[in-house]
Symmetry: C2
Subunit: 324 residues, 2 copies
């Protein structure tokens, strides 16, 4: 009798036990709002305030074992990273995040505790970005699939696009470079430490509010580094019709990355130059712009095309899906 | 030699032949903009104009063999339906669609022609809704997966939520009811006709602009019928703390549905009352509101809870994911 009672209590442990509306209720329960949340989850659509009659919007899809691994990252890590990735695109336009919409697909067998962890991570990252989850969708899927749409506000500033870099501009970055790639390399070889690089892979910390600050400083072009510095600045170079010249001596390689590189027999500069997933911001500014911390100059815009590191084409590009 | 040349020409036929950036280039090529598109696809994020410092946003995930079947619907049909489903949520708030963000995952083996068809369908439906595709994401996935986020504009009106229905209000609908369900039943039994109901399943035609009109007419609550009239009005009843009383004699069953019902031995009223996927709008209005065509009165709001048809609880709810 007692055992039977316990068995009943433990019946609701998976997503299919809870059902679609049970999962939604769980996600929505106690969800924080942001000042811009006019109507949050639970209606046909959300309503979000804008300050200047424009909204910035970006969408990303993440799939288990392609974008994250459950044995490398906790559910909370995945929530943090998914939201960080989405908001990073908003910051890269010179805007600040306001809202997140989360479409979520998973197998019915998935434990509810994983969903709870994911939601906790999404909410915590929203709090860091001063935004809120305002809507979503839940469906059955064979593989855990997330599609996140971030909304943002330009606060009256012009958007900073990929296409505005001018010859003579200064190239600067803000945020970490290479840390997540080093963490990925460590995890890929079966290690779990050093914890600093592993955590950088699990939970990036994009400098959300530096995007709007860069816009105020007069940034001419900007992007977030999701695929790697050379790959992402390559988009700026192409859209602006310029060449980006990076100087390796300005891309200072932190001691921790040198240490990990030595242990794994990898040149850590490779991580700094080609590693994505730290979601740093990279921007161009008119020559002579006084750049406050944490912005650091890494190069200059010149005539030509593509990206060069110390005058040479970097052999490796960023990540491309569908490549075998 | 000649054969070898032909083989080379035909090499780019799948998504992995084109690669991620090839697919994106294909999607973006010649994409129309809407008046509200300030920055469209190709940058870190899109920028969309709002008219009243608010944006309406909703997201949906669609997965092959759960939400659509490639043997029942063409790629173009899937594009039409996915966009229609997304914009229908915008209309249900009393807003008009402005923009669509499309996250797309698929296996590398998928034919590019399918992607082209999907994009053609999305674009055509955007044109019907006077909106535009402004951004997206492409990734590899085992199953074709779409996550669509629709944005919309309230044009200065208050949003029409689920929670505003008052006792004594008139309940009215606009758009088709039961047609997609009849089409689904026909396809499920291996038939391909009558084409009117099959096409209704393949390409719903939501009355996008009637949402804003309903708001102007003073609608107190509104939703779109995606899960079935009883299920969706159930959300209005719950959020408003009222009962919705429908009258079967006002839910006129079109001759075509009666004909199909007779052929399949199904009471066509079941399709009208429980069928989703036509994306009709259902709203409540203050008693005495003069409702223009194509709005038609189907019931009244009373004290109590839930939805009744001719005074009785309807046995069947809407679709729920994760149910076996």
């Amino acid at each position: 009798m007692h055992r039977r009672h316990r068995a009943r209590e433990s019946v609701i442990t998976t997503v299919s036990d809870a059902g679609e509306f049970g999962v939604i209720a769980r996600v929505v329960a106690g969800l924080e709002t942001a000042p811009s949340t006019l109507i949050g989850p639970g209606d046909d659509a959300a309503v979000v305030a804008t300050s200047d009659n424009r909204v910035v919007a970006s969408t990303d899809m993440l799939i288990e074992n392609r974008h994250f691994r459950r044995d490398w990252s906790t559910a909370e890590d995945v929530g943090h990273k998914a939201a960080a990735r989405a908001f990073s695109d908003i910051a890269a336009m010179g805007a600040t995040p306001t809202a997140l919409l989360v479409a979520f697909g998973c197998p019915g067998e998935l434990e509810l505790s994983w969903v709870d962890g994911l939601v906790a991570g999404l909410r915590a990252e929203c709090a860091s970005a001063e935004a809120a989850v305002v809507g979503g969708d839940v469906t059955a899927a064979e593989t855990i699939t997330l599609a996140l749409t971030a909304l943002g506000d330009l606060g009256g500033s012009a958007p900073v696009t990929l296409g505005g870099a001018k010859v003579g501009d200064t190239v600067a970055v803000c945020g970490r470079l290479g840390w997540a790639a080093a963490g990925f390399a460590v995890l890929g070889r079966g290690f779990r430490s050093p914890v600093q690089v592993v955590n950088a892979h699990r939970r990036p910390e994009p400098p959300y509010f530096e995007g709007q600050r860069a816009a105020a400083l007069g940034a001419t072009a900007m992007t977030d580094v999701s695929d790697g510095l050379v790959a992402d600045l390559g988009h700026v170079a192409a859209a602006s019709g310029v060449r980006i010249e990076l100087r390796a001596d300005l891309l200072d390689v932190p001691a921790k990355l040198r240490e990990v590189g030595a242990a794994l027999n990898v040149d850590p500069l490779v991580w700094v130059v080609t590693g994505g997933d730290d979601y740093a911001l990279a921007a161009t500014f008119p020559r002579g712009t006084e750049l406050p911390d944490p912005w650091r100059v890494v190069g200059v815009v010149s005539e030509g095309d593509g990206v060069r590191v110390d005058g040479r084409r970097w052999p490796q590009g960023g990540h491309e899906h569908f490549r075998s």
